[in-house]
């Protein structure tokens, strides 16, 4: 019996080791390569002068860049778009960046950002929850530049960046307002935070700009990627009568649920048309590449500032995905016209008068909300049926 006991213990130790190793491979395989790949660009730089270096500043040493991702690049949504941006930046500047994916928004993040700061010149932290951890590390590494997406805290060596994706939601709203037959839209909200709220309001205002009778039902899933839950949320909206849905999560669950019932839907963050082209509307998408190029370039040029950068339709950080195959040309044209007006500055999404769904005037006639007011939005526009959970 004794010997058998040892065999069991041993086999367990082996099994666990294997499990741990493979789990590690799955989530953090890039962080393991940090040391090797950070040296690679420096070596390549010393040996051969790459094209990008020749055109910009031959003498400047290329900075080492790292990205911290909340999810896997294969999420087909938020992190995927950041990863596309990283690849664009790598190609434009001839820099090889390191990435760490699936970093939880917890104390683990601070440990990982600290490790990256020790071996990199620029660190991009791409999710809101990293804000305080990034700030802590930024204070410890004054020579490293930190750029944090979607936050509001800065330091001498830490800036923020995000984009007015509500402009994209407004355009998606115009398309939805034209496509609905019942004047009834549905919004699958992720978390009841201001980022989702201003996108929901912009979507509603966009729809009402072409169809004043629109009402929008909203449900909150409290998830970013959970197909089973998001499907239930979408089905509930469809059952209540909505015939065009927009979801703020990254999974195509809402789109599939809508496709099954012959309704239209859009997702968020990236082009989701490939999942159900015939039922696809459009949705806001991120395009981080040009910003990443600009930010890294400014560090190389020594012109970097700890600014709070906000991209929009005009500079291309925000756009909408190509329309689904069933969206007619006149709707496309209407959206394109509105897009041109937003880019030229003629149209501002949050221009008064805007009343909230309690009847209170939130934006006076002729006024426009400042970016700061938009970012702290905590009311739902008239026509939205639902509440913001407290």
């Amino acid at each position: 019996m004794k010997r058998r006991g040892q065999a069991v213990t041993f086999s367990f130790a082996l099994m666990f080791l294997l499990a741990v190793v493979l789990a590690g491979c799955g989530s953090n395989n890039n962080s393991g390569n940090n040391t090797s790949s950070t040296k690679a660009p420096a070596a390549a730089n010393a040996g051969t002068t790459t094209e990008a270096a020749a055109t910009t500043e031959p003498a400047a040493k290329k900075p080492t860049v790292a990205f911290v991702y909340i999810g896997p690049p294969g999420d087909g949504g938020y992190t995927y778009q950041h990863d596309q941006g990283r690849q664009y930046m790598e190609k434009e500047l001839g820099i090889k960046a390191d990435t760490v994916e699936n970093v939880p928004e917890s104390a683990d993040a601070e440990r990982i950002i600290t490790e990256l700061a020790q071996s990199h010149d620029i660190v991009f932290t791409t999710s809101f929850g990293y804000m305080d951890y990034t700030l802590n590390v930024a204070n410890k590494f004054p020579n490293v530049k930190f750029m944090h997406a979607s936050g509001y805290k800065t330091a001498a060596n830490m800036g923020t960046y995000f984009g007015k994706n509500y402009q994209g939601s407004y355009l998606a709203g115009i398309a939805a307002g034209k496509m609905t037959k019942k004047n009834h839209l549905g919004y699958v909200g992720a978390f009841p935070i201001s980022e989702v709220i201003y996108n929901l309001n912009a979507f509603t205002l966009g729809a009402q700009s072409v169809n004043p009778d629109i009402k929008v039902d909203v449900v909150w899933t409290n998830t970013w990627y959970d197909p089973a839950t998001e499907r239930q949320a979408a089905i509930s909206l469809l059952d209540k009568g909505a015939d065009v849905l927009l979801a703020y999560q990254d999974s195509p669950a809402t789109l599939q649920a809508a496709a099954e019932r012959g309704a239209f839907a859009g997702g968020n963050d990236s082009d989701m048309g490939k999942y159900a082209p015939d039922s696809y509307l459009t949705n806001p998408v991120w395009n981080w590449g040009p910003y990443y190029v600009k930010a890294v370039q400014s560090v190389m040029d020594g012109t970097w500032k700890n600014e709070q950068y906000s991209g929009d339709l005009a500079d291309g950080m925000i756009d909408i995905a190509p329309f689904g195959s069933k969206v007619p040309d006149d709707v496309k044209k209407l959206v394109e016209d509105a897009k041109a007006k937003i880019i030229s500055g003629e149209l501002d999404v949050f221009t008064g008068p805007i009343t909230d769904n309690q009847g209170k005037v939130q934006v006076q006639e002729g006024q426009k909300l400042t970016l700061e007011e938009v970012l702290s939005m905590n009311w739902l526009a008239k026509g939205i049926e639902g509440t913001i959970p407290k």
Partner: protein, 309 residues
């Protein structure tokens, strides 16, 4: 369609993967082996389905591959728990960790790529025009039909055949079964493997009928819910059907209450399925306090021939 019909349709949709995984867990545990690996096995089933379906565009092949992979994992689990008599809780947890990690690793190349198709639907023809029945059955896909047939088959197997008698004997008192000439090891191997295959199919169903693409961790804890439902259903396939659909309905009810203008925060609505589960368990426990609980008596205890306990 009235509210109840809509809720039932949503419940069947939300409950099917849970039902498949719960039935798998019941087979495992009826044979006396604890199954805590459901989350990992579902993820492995899902990722295998996606990889093979995208590469070959053949759904049947994809499902067979998912079944084969989870069968292999089932054999590993049986080898550890039956032959090596390892701690079943540990083996199950290792299965979950292993499955989550390996599926994330294997799925990297296909993550975000749309599947060539979704779960096929049986065309019922004229049945669809019957008011309520047609609405409900017309929306069911093939895997849902399969899960329903399985409930019936497993019910008959466990309670009305001599094979089921052998299975229950092995789960309740393997020593007695052994004396009676039942091959305890073989039965445990077979049912554990069959159970893990069903759990793998539950994962396949999630990618085929919810969102047609792979992303790591997409089960989001559904495997753990199935582990709980096995106990909630007291190891009975018919009750598993009821429990899985009840859970699905409660899952959906939260959103419907939001839409009816309920002022209860969604965080609380999200707790409803779990709170109801606890309440029902308490009620059933109280009502059946003088009856056997239904737990396979030797669940979690490895069988060693001629050893006294």
């Amino acid at each position: 369609m009235d509210f109840t019909t809509q809720l039932l349709i949503a419940a069947i949709s939300a409950g099917t993967p849970l039902l498949l995984a719960t039935l798998g867990g019941i087979l495992n545990e009826r044979a006396g082996i604890i199954q805590l690996g459901a989350e990992g096995l579902m993820l492995m089933g899902a990722v295998t389905t996606c990889i093979v379906y995208i590469r070959t565009e053949n759904l049947l092949l994809a499902l067979l591959a998912a079944m084969a992979i989870t069968a292999v994992l089932g054999i590993v689990h049986s080898f550890l728990c039956v032959t090596l008599r390892a701690n079943q809780t540990m083996s199950g947890l290792a299965m979950t960790l292993f499955g989550s990690g390996l599926s994330a690793y294997l799925g990297k190349s296909i993550s975000g790529i749309p599947l060539p198709g979704t779960s096929p639907k049986l065309d019922l023809g004229w049945v669809k025009s019957i008011p309520v029945v047609g609405d409900i059955f017309g929306r069911m896909d093939d895997l849902t039909w399969f899960s329903l047939l399985l409930v019936l088959a497993l019910h008959l197997l466990i309670h009305h055949t001599s094979w089921g008698l052998h299975l229950r004997a092995v789960g309740d008192s393997p020593a007695t079964a052994d004396v009676m000439g039942i091959r305890v090891q073989l039965i445990r191997y077979s049912y554990v493997t069959a159970g893990t295959v069903l759990i793998g199919l539950a994962g396949a169903d999630m990618v085929l009928s919810y969102a047609p693409t792979w992303n790591e961790g997409l089960t989001a804890g559904r495997g753990w819910i199935a582990v709980g439902l096995v106990i909630f259903a007291r190891w009975n396939p018919l009750r598993a059907l009821f429990c899985a659909y009840l859970f699905g309905a409660l899952d959906s009810l939260g959103f419907r209450m939001q839409l009816l203008g309920s002022t209860i925060p969604p965080y609380f609505l999200k707790m409803i399925p779990y709170v109801v589960t606890i309440l029902v368990l308490m009620y059933l426990g109280y009502r059946n306090r003088n009856k056997p609980s239904g737990t396979p008596e030797s669940l979690g205890t490895p069988f060693i021939r001629e050893q006294r306990f």
